[in-house]
């Protein structure tokens, strides 16, 4: 029997530096058959492991429509992520997954989508945005509000430029006050405040947000104030996870396990547990 806690080896094909402490790994399963059958939906995550360091949870940053590889963006914060940063192209990591639920992209079709991200929280949104863009005509207005501490902390800079210049979506970039240089042309302010200043048509609009817990908390408040119905708002949550399959017992919010019932939740679903999340 295949042990669900045993990973499959994957080779690092490429490493891109996103920010001083974030890298994006392009990963290909060693077993070609596994690569071909590996399918996931935007919003799902994998357990990525480095021998001798351990295993950690990462959202898949690439889109399901990107075939032949998966990408993960890793910020250096602890033992596993530091070990990831030490790796070089050609190195081997272990991957288990995909786990968790996903963004209901079908339900978003035909309407507007508002993406709100902060810092490394753009990762799961990137997967969704790429997926949405691969079927652009199914959606109406697309807007991205994304903020980071400073300009160098913005992830996927090239892609942000590409999105901004393609003409069929709105991209608002913001830097935390004090993080901007003189030549910064975007907004200055924390994401929730930047968001608050904008007029957004809530009808037929789905809002999707991910970022640091404090940002998500405030963004949810702002969206509430704008008139978004809590079932229109999706967030993807980060909790400490180990097993990814709802057994190890640490990632629950109330009776919901983030790894199994999430990580994507509507605001409606998690409203009563906010004390435990933020």
């Amino acid at each position: 029997m295949k042990d669900s806690l045993v990973p499959d080896p994957a080779r690092i094909e490429d490493i891109r530096n996103e920010t001083p402490d974030v890298v994006t790994l392009r990963l290909v399963f060693e077993d070609r058959g596994k690569m071909e059958t590996f399918s996931f939906r935007a919003g799902q995550f994998v357990e990525l492991s480095v021998p001798k360091a351990g295993e950690s949870t990462f959202c898949i940053a690439s889109a399901p429509s990107d075939r032949g590889y998966i990408e993960c963006s890793v910020k250096k914060v602890g033992r596993v992520t530091e070990a990831v940063h030490m790796l070089e192209p050609g190195g081997i990591v272990g991957i288990r997954g995909p786990y968790g639920n996903f963004f209901p992209i079908e339900a978003m079709k035909g309407g507007n989508v508002l993406f709100i991200g902060g810092g490394i929280g753009l990762v799961p949104l990137r997967s969704l945005i790429r997926e949405v863009l691969s079927a652009r005509s199914d959606f109406k207005r697309l807007s991205v509000v994304y903020g980071a501490r400073s300009e160098r902390d913005l992830v996927y800079k090239d892609e942000l430029d590409e999105w901004r210049t393609r003409g069929d979506m709105e991209v608002v970039l913001a830097l935390d006050p004090g993080g901007e240089m003189e030549d910064w042309k975007g907004e200055v302010g924390y994401v929730p405040s930047v968001l608050e200043k904008r007029t957004i048509e809530t009808k037929d609009c789905t809002a999707v947000t991910c970022g640091p817990p404090v940002m998500i908390k405030r963004v949810l408040g702002v969206l509430d104030g704008m008139g978004f119905c809590s079932s229109q708002v999706y967030t993807t949550l980060e909790m400490k996870m180990k097993c990814g399959i709802g057994k190890c017992g640490r990632c629950n919010i109330g009776p919901l396990y983030v790894c199994k019932d999430g990580p994507v939740f509507t605001y409606e679903r998690i409203k009563e547990f906010t004390e435990e999340i933020f």
Partner: protein, 334 residues
């Protein structure tokens, strides 16, 4: 002998049978160590205690080991560790609460994404239970659906009925296959005696836990701060609990290891970034109570508790979960 029918055996005969059927098996049974009873692997049936109070540990660790190696990372890739599935094991004299706990953890480990280690250890082990003649001072099994004479989770149940005689009850096909037809059919006198003893045992359970109907409503109450104030955040309650099953996965050199972990610990839900959704003591204590009496029930249909009372008995500061849960309605509602 029809299935489900009870038979009667003398102690000597029962001993001989246990000895012969456990031949070639790894035997796990209650033994005394430094004056306290524990479940341990033993050499032979003669080492096993027949009369013992609630053991310090349950039988959980023989199915969900404190530490199990999942696989080894070698130069040639990943080499999974095989639990010894062909080795037969027999657990002797599990108390009804401990055996019942297996049926509770089964729901988690044997369901979707079955756990390989747990599954293998469950499959190769026969559980022989021993009814409790009298409940201990901390027992409250009746409140959570168990009984001192319960047979859930056992393959065979044994009950002492006096005159050094034992009533055998084949609970599962596996138990029957293992034991075969043994003993003589219990006559009505014995069966009546059995029922009397059962009633007496049930009456000896002194403690009752009143589980609130609406635990979620008390979630934000300050009650949890009060009742958890003395908690030391150690893992005694959870590690000795027969149903607590939380674990961690860590790398020890090139071995990936799954080991016990508990919601009481500081590091349990703390992320590498330092964020911790349950950073305060009361949140962790509340998590433990809610996991057992609300979430587990919601997700798996049973409480994550068998009423063995170990958590209260062994708590270094005598935090009494029975009192705490029972008083929620009265003191814990906002």
């Amino acid at each position: 002998m029809s299935f489900g029918e009870k038979t009667v055996l003398g102690k000597d005969e029962l001993f001989r049978i246990l000895k012969s059927i456990s031949e070639g098996c790894e035997i796990i049974g209650p033994v005394m160590e430094d004056g306290k009873p524990y479940f341990r692997p033993v050499e032979g049936v003669e080492d096993v205690a027949w009369d013992f109070d609630t053991t310090v540990n349950g039988i959980k660790e023989f199915f969900f080991p404190r530490r199990s190696v999942l696989y080894e990372q070698t130069n040639d890739g990943i080499r999974p560790f095989d639990p010894e599935t062909d080795k037969k094991r027999i657990v002797l004299f599990s108390r009804p609460c401990d055996a019942r706990a297996l049926t509770i953890t089964d729901r988690l480990f044997m369901g979707e994404n079955q756990d390989r280690v747990y599954g293998a250890l469950r499959a190769n082990t026969v559980v022989v239970g021993l009814s409790c003649e009298k409940a201990g001072p901390h027992c409250f099994c009746l409140s959570v659906g168990g009984s001192p004479f319960g047979t859930e989770g056992m393959d065979v149940s044994i009950t002492a009925v006096g005159d050094d005689e034992y009533v055998l009850d084949m609970v599962t096909d596996r138990g029957k296959a293992f034991f075969g037809n043994r003993g003589r059919k219990a006559d009505s006198k014995r069966l009546q005696e059995f029922e009397t003893l059962k009633k007496r045992a049930e009456e000896s359970v002194e403690r009752t836990m009143r589980i609130p109907k609406d635990l979620p409503s008390a979630f934000e109450s300050d009650y949890w701060k009060e009742v958890s104030a003395a908690c030391l955040k150690c893992g005694v309650c959870t590690y000795l609990c027969p149903t607590c099953h939380c674990f961690d996965i860590v790398d020890e050199g090139f071995y990936r290891v799954r080991c016990w972990d508990t919601c009481s610990f500081d590091t349990f839900s703390r992320m590498a970034s330092g964020e911790d959704p349950r950073k305060d003591k009361y949140m962790r204590y509340r998590q433990r109570v809610y996991h057992k009496f609300s979430y587990y029930k919601e997700n798996f249909g049973v409480y994550g508790c068998v009423g063995c009372g170990r958590c209260t008995k062994h708590c270094p500061v005598k935090t009494d979960i029975v009192e705490i849960v029972s008083s929620v309605d009265e003191k814990g509602m906002p």
